[in-house]
């Protein structure tokens, strides 16, 4: 299989600019456009090649010669024209706000999180797309998350969605067959999402679902938990942050235009480019618990880990969730039109993450399932209450999710990714623990009311959860 096009550059004349030669010093990204859409199970070598292109794209500083910038397109995920041409190539608030993915995702290494200075401003990008203030009435200020282990996160989410849909289908069928309402508890991988009642006529009572959307799709990405896949996130982010528009959403099939952002460049990111980005992110190693620590830290972390569980923190920050398969299909099954899905291609690519070096270290349960040590539950929770409301600071919801609900932050890598909180404005773990209210209030109170040594043990444990840099 050929994944990479020959790295020989032909003379290309770019519309809307003076002619530019593809010489090595040209301000262009060589990796762009090199990946064809992969098909089938990739060999380890092919996956390595594809991921290498993805890493190059993730690290690349995109330029106007690549098609960066979106003078007539807003940051919205749904292709939307600006009311007037954007005044500047960059805008710190409404974007484009970064030259490269790696401009923000760099703590402690490429693909990591970002400091407060890398915060992004999430907005719908429709009517008030060109806001020029960080005021919360226009946007949601969010810190940059790390991406290590993201492939396993998406795989867990897919399996959980499959489980929930199977429960839903069974309930619907049973209600019809028995001509009586059927109530089903929604639980997958030990995580409960409330319950549904299927009525004989096919209607669902969804009033008792918890922490998941009405369509029972687990959306594990973003701090809010509103994006289902790395692929959708990549397409969104490429447009928002760089003005690099993927054809699978901004191309003629949906917009009728080959150059929707009217920057003089068409087909800025191919489906293969997006696949390369997905493959690289999906294959990033999982964070681990550091072992090269002083013995007194190890001892404290051991005690802290136990206390963390005893205090009830693990009711949301689950130590691990079991994963049945490490075969990452791209495109995936739960994306909808505007992002390529499994149904849009004859044969999706399969990235066998089990073949990556770090995967061999992952523990398995007695059923052979990989235990993904994410310290999370992929579920949204209420995170503030009337007394402890620091994390309930946003003015409006996102993706139909209430303003005070957020998906449980996975704690793997937390020792490498300060500062904390969805606004990235809490430099210390102690601060963000104390900021937990709502569903986490009891565990937070247990921490606050414990002695300083106990608190430090927990900090020692959390700071041992690191992204390896070697």
């Amino acid at each position: 299989m050929t994944l990479m096009k020959p790295l020989t550059f032909a003379l290309v004349v770019f519309a809307g600019t003076a002619s530019a030669q593809d010489v090595v010093w040209a301000e262009k990204t060589p990796a762009l456009g090199q990946a064809d859409l992969p098909v089938g199970v990739l060999s380890p070598e092919a996956l390595m090649q594809l991921r290498a292109l993805g890493e190059d794209l993730f690290a690349a500083t995109f330029t106007p010669l690549d098609g960066a910038g979106r003078p007539r397109s807003t940051q919205a995920g749904l292709p939307t024209k600006t009311k007037r041409p954007l005044k500047n190539d960059f805008a710190r608030t409404s974007g484009p706000d970064a030259g490269a993915c790696g401009s923000c995702h760099n703590l402690p290494i490429l693909g990591g999180a970002g400091d407060f200075v890398t915060n992004v401003f999430a907005s719908e990008g429709f009517a008030n797309h060109d806001f020029e203030t960080t005021d919360g009435e226009f946007s949601l200020e969010r810190g940059t998350n790390h991406l290590f282990g993201a492939g396993l996160i998406e795989l867990l989410a897919r399996e959980m969605t499959e489980d929930l849909h199977r429960l839903r289908d069974d309930a619907i069928s049973a209600a019809r067959d028995m001509n009586a309402p059927q109530t089903v508890v929604l639980e997958t991988k030990g995580v409960g999402f409330g319950m549904i009642t299927a009525l004989p006529d096919g209607l669902l009572d969804l009033s008792k679902i918890e922490g998941v959307d009405a369509d029972l799709v687990i959306r594990p990405f973003t701090q809010k938990g509103v994006v289902p896949s790395l692929r959708q996130f990549a397409v969104n982010a490429m447009n928002q942050h760089h003005g690099m528009q993927a054809s699978e959403r901004f191309g003629t099939r949906w917009t009728g235009e080959s150059d929707f952002d009217e920057d003089g460049y068409s087909a800025e990111m191919s489906a293969g480019d997006i696949s390369a980005l997905v493959a690289w992110q999906a294959g990033l190693p999982v964070p681990t618990q550091a072992r090269d620590l002083p013995q007194d830290w190890i001892d404290a972390a051991t005690r802290g880990k136990d206390t963390f569980a005893e205090m009830g923190c693990v009711s949301c920050h689950r130590p691990a969730l079991p994963l049945r398969s490490l075969a990452f299909a791209d495109p995936g099954p739960f994306d909808t039109a505007g992002t390529l899905s499994t149904h849009d291609v004859e044969t999706p690519a399969i990235y066998d993450l089990a073949g990556l070096e770090w995967a061999a270290e992952l523990p398995r349960d007695d059923q052979g399932r990989v235990l993904v040590p994410l310290w999370g539950d992929l579920k949204r929770h209420e995170i503030s209450d009337g007394e402890v409301d620091a994390l309930g600071n946003e003015l409006f919801g996102q993706g139909f999710v209430d303003r005070t609900q957020f998906i449980t932050a996975e704690l793997w890598g937390v020792g490498s990714t300060a500062p904390y909180g969805h606004r990235n404005d809490m430099p210390a773990l102690d601060q963000v623990i104390r900021a937990h209210g709502g569903d986490a209030r009891a565990a937070r109170d247990a921490y606050v009311n414990s002695d300083q040594t106990t608190q430090l043990d927990i900090i020692a444990f959390l700071k041992s959860l690191r992204i390896e840099t070697q």
Partner: protein, 537 residues
Amino acid sequence: MNLRHLTCIASLLATPAFADFPFDVPHMIEQASDAGITHTYTGDWEFFVGGGAASFDCNGDRLPDLMLAGGEGPAALYVNRSETAGALAFEQRDFLGGLTNVIGAYPIHLDEDTHIDLAVLRLGKNYLVKGGPDCSFEKANETFEFDTGRLWTTAFSAIWEEDNIRPTLAFGNYVDRKAPGSPFGTCSDNQLLRPTETGYGEVTVLTPGFCSLSMLFTDWDNSGQFDLRITNDRQYYRDGQEQLWKISPDEEPEAYDAGDGWQKLVIWGMGIAEADLNGDGRPEYALTSMGDTMLQSLDDDADEGEPNYTDIAFDLGATAHRPYTGEDIRPSTGWHTQFADVNNDSRPDLFIAKGNVAKMTDFAAFDPDNLLMGDGQGSFMEQGEAAGIARATKGRGAVIEDFNADGRLDLLVVNRDGPASLFRNQGRKTDWGHAPMGNFIAIELANGDVNPRGVGAVISVKTGNVTQTQTIQIGGGHVSGQAGFTHFGLGAADKASIRVKWPDGGWSQAYNVFANNFVVLDRDRSDAQYWYPVPAQ
């Protein structure tokens, strides 16, 4: 232009050879016979017109069942047995003992039970038909004290006025065959029936009638008042024209005239469809005819309350005046027309059933149905051949419905003197099979015991900066109507926010829904209820 990606784009988005149209074209595969529908609309001169279809759910499974007019032959009932997202399948049932002389039908709720009823239009006695369990039906003219005489009825519309528990009914009639000099200049009057406490009584005559072939209660000026738009067949009237009747609960019906701003229009009017194409809250109207199809928009210079329309069909590429394929360049004959988003790209498309009246030599003999698809610039481009519906049939009535709950709109066309066509929408065709098109949302309203479907309600679906609206109506098309989910294509939007202007004028809160679902919006609930068909095997 940057040509770097052409190779992979071409392979990924492999669309058939209709390069000028950039959006998905649905692949419509005819499979009526395989699906168990073997039905023909036939008969002599009286059945040159008509040939309607009604789709509705008559057994509570929320899948659209069908009643097809048969003309001189029997009308037929087809109960939907399609598997979810699978092959289309129908079970034929008897309809009122093989009722003949049926021109068309519209589903409607005439009483407060949960079963859908029907208004059946006939050559002769019309029937109000009461629905019962498991797709059972019975004539109910006596129950509803209903009698419109023995005319030749070819049009129907209905609306709930004020707090009435039953709808106001309008019947459009064609030629009075017994009048001296018939058929020319002998059009029957039309009829308006308002509900009484016990049923329907006195018939209000809407005169003059000009041989109507379609009528539609419509809120043409976004005033909240539904007037009656009628399209008429110039073949038989004298000094006639298109009509708009002012229908007010407190006043006698009155036709708009030149003094009101109404502009005389003389066409072979055969079908009406409406859609708000420019988003100004005032609908545009597609009017089928022999030759040009009209597409009317309220004139920019029209004063408030003045129904002064401009034809924009040519500007929007929607004249459909002659066959778009084949060697026959004589004018077309258009019948049923309907706006619907068949590729789920969020832009309305326009279907027109076409077919020679019988053997009219001045008009095209090969006259395929049209599928004018929204081109993203506010205009339309013909894609009937690319979609697979360009066939040598004589189309009359039709319904566009999602028969197998896969989120894609299918098409049923009743043909004169030939088998009905049933096209399954398979999605976009690629070089390896079929693939999905855009996202969708399908909406059912629950307005309460009276007018449960919310006829007269306006549904607004917002995705990004785009708002689509559809009004729940009974009437229009060509003697064909449907009752079921209202379908919106969402394009690349994965969610939508919906608001409903209920028939009483009250607005709902926003219902936030995820794409590719069927939802029921109950005016007494704050959340959307999701509905699921039998899970696919």
